[in-house]
């Protein structure tokens, strides 16, 4: 459904735009119908930039992003694109204009996309969408954003996407600002939406969340793909030193951190045979599990902090 091919993003920085900053380098992956793909990375990995490019909020410097084969930048009518692709962002409170009521996000959709739908019919649709995200319409309609909780606001944004009956949702760190007890509800909601055929790009820095809900995972570092493939393979059998060090640093509830040094293993990319390099910069070490060069000459993972 959604395919990225050799996508790069270059920003001009410096006093007169002299220097270049490559936020994303040569990234390519796919998201299919009814599939959740996690984009995992730390800050500076380019994961949010990718999300914004897919949402056409930022331009693509090189490479192509296609939806069903059509280059998205060639779709002249943005509204047509947004009918199929929508986004939800990290901070639920900043997504709502504080001077208006929260359900204005729904009326904006109605004005732009469903101007001819009657008021009663529209209200039924809104209530159905709210119920599908497990919100009680009576609790959330007619209120201001500061009267609602982060979890409720986040779910209303998802309901907004459901109203449009989209095919792809870009969820950019939507969990990180929620309370622990509501995080899992929103994650379960994403899983339910996946079951209904929605494709989701789940951008996060939290490996446990990505592991819980996604089918496939893409691990990014400084704008490049380090490892990608089926989630259980990437997490269960990590082939890249970076992935391994990430997994070693994740605090687990039933195990304390060990001081074990990330063992130096030969670079998986260069160990793999030539004909397994089916994607640019990546070698296929097992079916649907790709890894990039470890930056050879031993494990080059220094502490980024």
């Amino acid at each position: 459904m959604l395919k990225l091919d050799g996508v790069s993003k270059i920003y001009r920085v410096g006093a007169f735009g002299g220097r270049e900053l490559k936020a994303v380098s040569d990234v390519g992956f796919e998201v299919g119908e009814g599939e959740v793909v996690s984009l995992i990375g730390e800050s500076g990995s380019g994961k949010s930039t990718l999300g914004r490019m897919i949402l056409r909020l930022a331009s693509v410097s090189s490479g192509t992003i296609t939806l069903d084969g059509r280059d998205i930048s060639s779709i002249k009518d943005r509204k047509e694109y947004y009918r199929q692709v929508q986004g939800v962002f990290q901070d639920p409170f900043s997504c709502y204009n504080p001077v208006f009521r929260a359900d204005r996000v729904f009326s904006t959709i109605k004005e732009q996309y469903f101007p001819r739908v009657g008021a009663d019919e529209w209200r039924t649709r809104v209530e159905a969408a709210l119920e599908s995200v497990r919100l009680d319409p009576g609790n959330v309609l007619g209120k201001y954003p500061h009267q609602l909780s982060g979890g409720q606001l986040q779910r209303m944004l998802i309901a907004r996407a459901v109203l449009l009956d989209i095919r792809l949702l870009v969820a950019d760190e939507i969990i990180s600002m929620l309370d622990v007890s509501t995080r899992i509800d929103v994650l379960n909601l994403l899983a339910d939406l996946r079951a209904r055929g929605l494709g989701i790009l789940f951008v996060t820095h939290d490996l446990s969340l990505g592991n819980y809900v996604s089918d496939r995972t893409v691990v990014l570092r400084k704008g490049k793909i380090m490892e990608m493939g089926r989630t259980d393979l990437v997490f269960g059998n990590p082939a890249h030193p970076y992935t391994r060090s990430l997994l070693a640093s994740v605090p687990r509830l039933h195990a304390k951190w060990t001081d074990a040094v990330v063992e130096e293993v030969p670079c998986a990319y260069h160990e793999a045979p030539e004909d397994s390099r089916t994607r640019p910069g990546l070698a296929e070490v097992e079916n649907d599990h790709y890894v990039a060069c470890a930056g050879c000459a031993g494990s080059k993972i220094k502490e980024t902090a």
């Binding site: 309370d179 007890s181 509501t182 899992i184 379960n188 990430l246 509830l253 951190w257 902090a305």
Partner: protein, 314 residues
């Protein structure tokens, strides 16, 4: 006992009345103990952290006492508390790494800070401590913008502990950081205690799995009151308060997938603290609630070092 808090009550003044952010909290932190303070938003943990060092304009100390190393801390008296701040109690505030003055080199900022407190800056000691946390001493000649988030956080941590306080309070010091930086910062906190730079520590966080890695005891707060306090291992494997149980059960972990085991959250939301309900505040969301819950259960010791505020936690 390093810190003794007895029935502390701190309310916020707002236009609509008083928000009972901290409503009767009693606990102790022993010498050389790292206590994790866990809770969600609105639980009162940040209020507790802040009130132990400085009440800001909106907070009001309504009742209760705090004793540090035998001396009573005059919470309501801003001037008298000055003696305690930075020397006996030190706070690493939330978002402090973003609060570094961008126009000052780190070394200069530290010097100015110490001068304002009437202390002399000991450059050698400062460098020794920076090295202890894994930073090179030329950090002092850099501007904040040249450092990464984790590095800034560690600089702030070094500054906060320069005078070897008895109690260090770390308020959400890892929330804005990447996974690898989180581990570095958390192990740094551990290092402070192990090297004797601080006597005891309170680590405020919403991330229980992180605080489990370094804390000796964990205390869980809910809606301004204490729910449970137990040794870290016990709290995570055998919690007795229904809230703690549900909270632990709602945490996704690497290795747990939706298809294998669907986790559930806690339905409902915490009560408003403007007019909190009488009795146990978790009552409305608790699956074990019964009549006696209309009366607030005491924070009782059900096992050595294990306190729970629940009638059913026998």
């Amino acid at each position: 006992m390093a810190l003794n808090v007895t029935d502390l009550r701190v309310y916020y003044r707002t236009l609509r009345g008083e928000v009972k952010a901290l409503d009767g909290v009693t606990f102790s932190v022993a010498d050389r103990e790292i206590m994790g303070l866990a809770g969600e938003s609105g639980s009162g943990k940040s209020t507790l952290a802040k009130s132990l060092i400085r009440l800001d304009g909106r907070m009001r100390h309504v009742g209760g006492t705090v004793e540090l190393d035998g001396a009573a801390m005059p919470l309501s008296d801003d001037g008298a508390m000055d003696e305690f701040r930075f020397r006996k109690v030190s706070l690493i505030p939330q978002y402090s790494m973003s609060a570094l003055n961008p126009t000052r080199k780190i070394g200069k900022m530290v010097g100015e800070l110490l001068e304002s407190r009437g202390e002399r800056a000991d450059r050698a000691e400062l460098e020794r401590r920076l090295e202890l946390v894994g930073l090179s001493k030329d950090v002092l000649d850099r501007y904040p913008i040249e450092l990464s988030g984790g590095m800034k956080q560690r600089v702030v941590m070094v500054v906060s502990t320069l005078l070897n306080p008895s109690l260090l309070i770390a308020d959400e010091v890892t929330s804005a950081l990447d996974v690898s930086s989180q581990k570095a910062v958390a192990t740094t906190l551990l290092g402070f205690r192990d090297h004797g730079l601080v006597t005891s520590m309170m680590v405020v966080t919403h991330d229980i799995s992180l605080v489990y890695q370094i804390a000796d005891t964990i205390m869980v707060m809910y809606a301004g009151r204490l729910a449970e306090k137990a040794p870290a291992e016990v709290l995570v494997t055998a919690p007795r308060h229904p809230y703690t149980r549900q909270l632990i059960a709602a945490l996704p972990e690497v290795g747990v997938r939706y298809e294998d085991r669907r986790l559930t959250g806690i339905p409902g939301s915490p009560p408003s603290l403007l007019k909190p309900p009488g009795g146990c505040r978790f009552r409305d969301r608790c699956p074990l609630a019964f009549d006696r819950c209309a009366e607030q259960p005491p924070f009782a010791e059900v096992a050595p070092g294990h306190h729970v505020a629940c009638w059913k936690a026998e």
